[in-house]
């Protein structure tokens, strides 16, 4: 009767290091570089108040005389040197980038989280219940997909601003932006989760839970949800890059975050005005940061998709 059972249990860290995903990561230089860049930018953004040499939002520390200082050159009036130069108001570009990335990442993460929660919930319900609930949700999703998501986000943003009293608009702007981007992006999650749910629900482990009369909510959350999270993670990673770009686009168009709290997109919008007057650094450095962030997160998502789905390669 006694059977030999598996290999001895390793501790959690060793097991994670030994897993196929970790192995594939170690053998993909692009993924390692992408992860390094993303983590670097994220850490720099999170710890911006401690890293940044200046606080660009504190008018007391700003000196208009410092305006338009070129990178690595002493200012002609004050003699101050800034790595990446300053903008028209004398704000240190490096510091504004750190703070800007902070806003961009915050909006990106929150928008993805919002889209994920909404998409997963609706996807689980549609996939598990089937029937008219499924048809209704998926038709709504189809209709939404026919609009470009940035247009939709603009629309939602505009409508939401109409409802919010002017006094709160500044303060609420970020949250409105998050909801707008999130709402324009839930469909992907819902579709993937619905498909995966339909596969999982026909599997025998779900039937085993149904035989003992387990509550549908419990089956959905404890049995099916953990098994559909793989593809969701992939979309979420790529979605983060897209959300950051969406935020930048909206801010660039001037409908995003207010310029008192500039995100990377806002910085690019501001910098754009100075390109032809010779102050190229105000535009260039925020753009590079945005590009590096979006690209590395996207590459990470691509790698994750391949690593979790070896058959797609």
């Amino acid at each position: 009767m006694q059977e030999t059972t598996g290999k001895p249990r390793l501790n959690a860290v060793a097991r994670a290091w030994d897993s196929d995903v970790a192995w594939s990561f170690r053998h993909s230089p692009l993924a390692v570089i992408a992860a390094f860049v993303s983590i670097l930018i994220i850490l720099a953004a999170v710890f911006a108040p401690w890293i940044a040499p200046h606080d660009p939002f504190n008018p007391a520390t700003l000196n208009l005389m410092d305006g338009f200082t070129a990178p690595m050159e002493p200012n002609q009036f004050t003699g101050n040197v800034y790595w990446l130069g300053t903008d028209n108001q004398g704000r240190d570009v490096f510091s504004t980038i750190l703070y800007g990335a902070r806003i961009s990442l915050f909006v990106g993460f929150m928008a993805v989280l919002f889209a994920m929660v909404l998409g997963i919930t609706l996807g689980l319900i549609a996939g598990y219940r089937g029937g008219w609930v499924d048809s209704l949700l998926m038709r709504v999703a189809d209709v939404q997909l026919t609009f470009p998501s940035i247009l939709l986000a603009l629309l939602i943003f505009g409508v939401a601003r109409g409802f919010i009293p002017p006094a709160y608009r500044e303060a609420m702007a970020i949250w409105v932006l998050i909801v707008a981007i999130g709402l324009s992006d839930w469909v992907q999650y819902a579709r993937v989760v619905r498909g995966a749910t339909m596969v999982e629900k026909s599997k025998e482990y779900v039937q085993a839970a149904r035989v003992i009369g387990a509550h549908p909510a419990k089956i959905l959350l404890r049995h099916i949800l953990p098994n559909v999270m793989g593809p969701v993670l992939v979309i979420a990673t790529i979605g983060l890059a897209l959300a950051i770009i969406a935020e930048a686009t909206l801010s660039f168009l001037g409908v995003g975050v207010p310029s008192t709290q500039p995100s990377l997109g806002t910085l690019i919008r501001i910098g754009q005005g100075f390109l032809f007057s010779g102050e190229w650094w105000i535009l260039l450095f925020p753009s590079i940061t945005l590009l590096a962030l979006a690209l590395s997160v996207n590459l990470l998502g691509d790698w994750l998709r391949d690593a979790l789905n070896p058959r797609l390669r």
């Binding site: 009767m1 006694q2 059977e3 030999t4 192995w23």
Partner: protein, 334 residues
Amino acid sequence: MAPVHKSGPLLSVRDLVVEFPTRRGTLRALDKVSFDIAEGEVLGMVGESGAGKSLTGAAIIGLLEPPGRIAGGEILLRGERIDNLPREKMRRIRGRRIGMVFQDPLTSLNPLYTVAEQLIETIRTHMDVSEKEARKRAVALLDRVGIPAAARRIDDYPHHFSGGMRQRVVIALALAAEPELVIADEPTTALDVSVQAQIIDVLKEICAERGASVMLITHDMGVIAETADRVAVLYAGRLAEIGPVRDVIQAAEHPYTVGLMGSIPTLTQTAERLTQIPGSMPRLDAIQQGCAFNPRCTRAFDRCRVERPDLIARGEERQVACWLYDPAKEAQDV
């Protein structure tokens, strides 16, 4: 029983080793497998999942899935090596000299072409006959494998046929170029019992008629008993026992075969409990030193845990890879 030809076997597999390089080291999926198939003979290849029976078939026809590769030994068809042929030459041997029948008929038939198109193409690729003659042969072949109204149904697409009928078409396709050897990999596993019996009969009869040898790969001892002349038992990528079907089924010698036979419920047995082999077949990365079966063997002794037994001849036709039958040991015991 198999006709014994002094001219040598049709197919000869010598010390075949198939390896799969993985990131955790190289796995040996087949380890020094040797056997012959005589002219007109049906050799059954039996074993549990992962024992390497399908791999043996794939290695012979040169269709190992990468990264799997032949790492040793040789395969001879009528005395000529075919394991190191260039891909183009191997492709000509496949279909022409070696026909194939797989478990799932849908993988062997192209859904976009009619049965007639596929049969005629196969016949004309390998034989120098006119379109009309090829069609005539194709109809005769379909008729022979038991497709009713063959002349009319030959123009249907594969999805118009039921599972059993499709497998008949596959058999016709495998035999279209009159090959010398047919490799049938689990040809009846996807079919219902009542259809399975019919397919086995067709395969057996038509190959006998045309003098084609058959290598029948299956996990089902019953199918082997019905069809094969000789049977080879694989365990963990190694040959455990090979011999005439009746001998192996009724008087198995390798402890693994003995256990395997005892564990199959039959329509006639009366025992309350089935004999069971403890444990399960090891994964390829966990094969023990010595005989691969030793951890599960009730009769294992010290030597089995150290030294791997080669096939030991037992009479003219049987070979067993087990130290229990070592001539030196038997002499000692007496």
